[in-house]
């Protein structure tokens, strides 16, 4: 079924750390007709190339030397949306199951090539994969834009055409149902597929849908069976770990994630997840162990992240290694020159100096941390570190205000609440700690209830005002930010033009779009936006 594929116009990026492999891959590619071939030996080079030109095909060796691998690179590209879904990513491996690299579907390569391979094999495979990409091109573009309703409709067309891509379409449709918040429907859909033929991705999808609909027991049960039957399905461990962690059972979460790490020891995402769970369990030795590995593996590579350093530093202060924490902060400042004023790093510095008995240095570092921009947008772990630095330095009010903000930014994350409680306990009483968490959560619930009630009573203007204030106070809570955008647009449609409100609505809409392009409320917000725009055009 080989199709006539024009390779001459396709851009191919080859990534392999061995020069001889690079040149032989290049000559294989040119021998089958590729003309635009770029070959890179390092991730940094590859990233530069990707920033300059879009590539149609990326051929990446799994082993990249110096601690990093192709899977980590692919995860990096996908999570940062640096390559569209239309780009073909092919991983070259010594043995496909070697690192048990079955991860989240989003982070899977399009195919694996076992090395060594002939130019003929490469050609047949690429032809086949390009045929598939061509058939799914429209859906891929819609997925990139998060237009899930259209994705679902187009998948339905392919499914009813019953061609060879129908199972691909089924998989994409299930994910689209989840992405658009239609979780009950997604669960029913995955059940139907599994009744016909139990497939790992459909069983995993069902578990995701069950978790989203709050059926945690059933989700856990599904995942436990799935792991027993498909021990290489790493995404199942990760999901189960998340469920345990969100329920506050960090011991169970760590057990599952450790098990996954034994089978697939190189996943940065999992090492980071283990650190996160260990943080909420107060097991800072484990945090240190996991994040030291991440920092080592990513040292001098583009995959390193400031937050790894900050969290490692924070763990080191918790285990009484303040001097080491300061060294980590120094290394981070050296590595990320643009982020010398990162508030989380400065907060670690403050805590370390405090415990070393240097109050003046601690105070100076804390001042810098608190001036580090919009603190409400910091990740939870960074806000917690900052709050701890405040509490350590005797700034109780400021510390508690930050803790309240962390809880209200993450009102459903039990693991974050646990960390807030244990921090407060050390600087106050257990009762006070529990009360702070409970009151903060209650306030967010009350806010949402009030907004809904106002909306129902036709007092949409008041609802919008209340949500706008909350969104400005809690910019990291995207649920509130999205609701604020929605309410403002409804109010504008009901009450007529108001330039300030329109600006505010656009700002919130952009914030959601940038930070959560798949947010389930975005489609509704965009629809209101379009109605508003249409009406204004009609008036002009």
């Amino acid at each position: 079924m080989a199709s006539v594929t024009e390779y001459a116009g396709k851009r191919l990026l080859i990534i392999d750390d061995m020069p001889e492999m690079r040149s032989s891959l290049r000559s294989q590619a040119t021998s089958i007709g590729f003309q635009k071939v770029t070959a890179c030996g390092h991730l940094r080079e590859a990233l530069d190339a990707l920033r300059q030109t879009p590539f149609d095909i990326i051929l990446c060796d799994y082993y990249l030397g110096s601690g990093t691998n192709g899977q980590q690179f692919l995860e990096y590209l996908r999570t940062r949306r640096m390559i569209p879904r239309s780009t073909l990513f092919i991983m070259i491996t010594a043995e496909k199951n070697h690192d048990a690299v079955i991860t989240a579907a989003e982070c899977m390569p399009d195919d694996y090539l076992l090395k060594p391979f002939t130019a003929e094999l490469f050609k047949t495979r690429v032809e086949r994969l390009l045929d598939r990409k061509a058939r799914l091109a429209e859906i891929d573009a819609m997925q990139d834009k998060g237009r899930w309703a259209e994705v679902i409709a187009t998948c339905d067309e392919i499914i009813s055409a019953r061609d060879r891509y129908q199972v691909d379409a089924m998989r994409i449709k299930g994910n689209a149902l989840i992405q658009s918040g239609r979780h009950e429907e997604a669960a029913a859909y995955y059940r139907k597929i599994n009744d016909m033929r139990p497939l790992p991705w459909a069983r995993l999808g069902l578990s995701r849908a069950l978790r989203e609909t709050g059926k945690l027991d059933e989700a856990r049960e599904q995942l436990t069976t799935l792991i027993a039957e498909a021990p290489h399905l790493m995404a199942a461990y990760d999901l189960l770990g998340h469920i345990h962690a969100a329920e506050g059972d960090s011991a169970a979460a760590l057990q599952v994630l450790d098990d996954a790490s034994r089978r697939s020891p190189h996943s940065l995402a999992r090492l980071r997840a283990i650190a996160e769970v260990a943080e909420s369990a107060g097991d800072f030795e484990r945090v240190e162990k996991s994040l030291s590995q991440v920092v080592d593996k990513t040292r001098n590579t583009p995959l390193r992240e400031t937050s790894d350093f900050a969290r490692l530093g924070s763990a080191l202060t918790a285990t009484g290694q303040a001097d080491k924490a300061l060294a980590v902060v120094d290394e981070a400042r050296e590595a990320f020159r643009g982020e010398a004023e990162n508030p989380a790093l400065a907060a670690v510095e403050a805590i370390a100096h405090h415990s070393l008995g240097n109050p003046a240095k601690a105070e100076a570092a804390l001042e810098r941390a608190l001036q580090g921009g919009d603190l409400g947008l910091l990740p939870a772990s960074a806000m917690l570190t900052l709050a701890q630095a405040c509490l350590d330095s005797g700034r109780a009010d400021q510390g508690q205000a930050l803790l309240k903000q962390v809880v209200q930014t993450n009102p459903e994350a039990k693991d974050v609440h646990a960390r807030v409680t244990s921090l407060m306990e050390r600087h106050g009483s257990a009762d006070q700690a529990r009360k702070l968490v409970a009151d903060s959560v209650e306030e967010v619930i009350q806010l949402n209830n009030d907004a809904v009630r106002f909306g129902k009573e036709g007092r949409i203007g008041e609802a919008a005002e209340m949500l706008t204030a909350a969104a400005n106070r809690l910019p990291g809570n995207l649920q509130i930010v999205a609701n604020a955008a929605y309410a403002l647009l409804v109010a504008l449609l009901a009450n007529g033009h108001d330039a300030d409100k329109l600006r505010e609505a656009e700002r919130f809409r952009q914030a959601v779009r940038e930070r959560a392009p798949n947010h389930r409320k975005l489609a509704d917000i965009d629809a209101l936006w379009a109605r508003l725009a249409a009406r204004q055009n009609a008036l002009e």
């Binding site: 090395k115 199972v167 498909a230």
Partner: protein
Amino acid sequence: MSFQAYAALTIHDVKNRLATLANRAQARGDVDTVREALNAAELLTALLVCYKAENGWLGADIDAHAPIDLIEELAADSARLASLPVRMRPDVPGEVFFYDENLVRLAVNGALHNALRHAQHEVYIGARADERWLEFIVTDDGPGFPSEQLAESACPAGVSGQGTGLGLYLARLVADLHTHDGLRGVVLLHNDHGAHFTLRLPR
């Protein structure tokens, strides 16, 4: 580092060297050496998969695939390399079935190499399906499987004239990982004017 880690790294390294060797041979048109290098690399892959299976880490990643893709790929891949013609049987299904394509490729490719070593004139590869089974088939016109291989069950054959027996062991592992509706995959060997290898999977 453990022996396991060294072994994995070494296999990786050796495969890289075999790849280099194959590419150099390809460049000077030495097809025989290319074939030997690729076959050697294939054995190392099989070894890694068996190691994984030993440790209970091998799982089938079942998804929808069209057998015609795999058969065409294997036929095209061997067209330039093989010493004998590899022909496709007619009526290979173009619709999708459910199996782990990477594992099935390893198993069928192993059988294909074996057949090429023993065939006199030609080798056939193909696939066919009935209501319950999907079968991948490799046949040759050589002397057929030795009787002890026909008799033996799931154990590796040990070193013999047929190679190390790793290929067949791997094929059985792959078959065993494919289950559906109470049915389990199986490898069938028989002789009929040559060796007939069948990887039968529940559809």
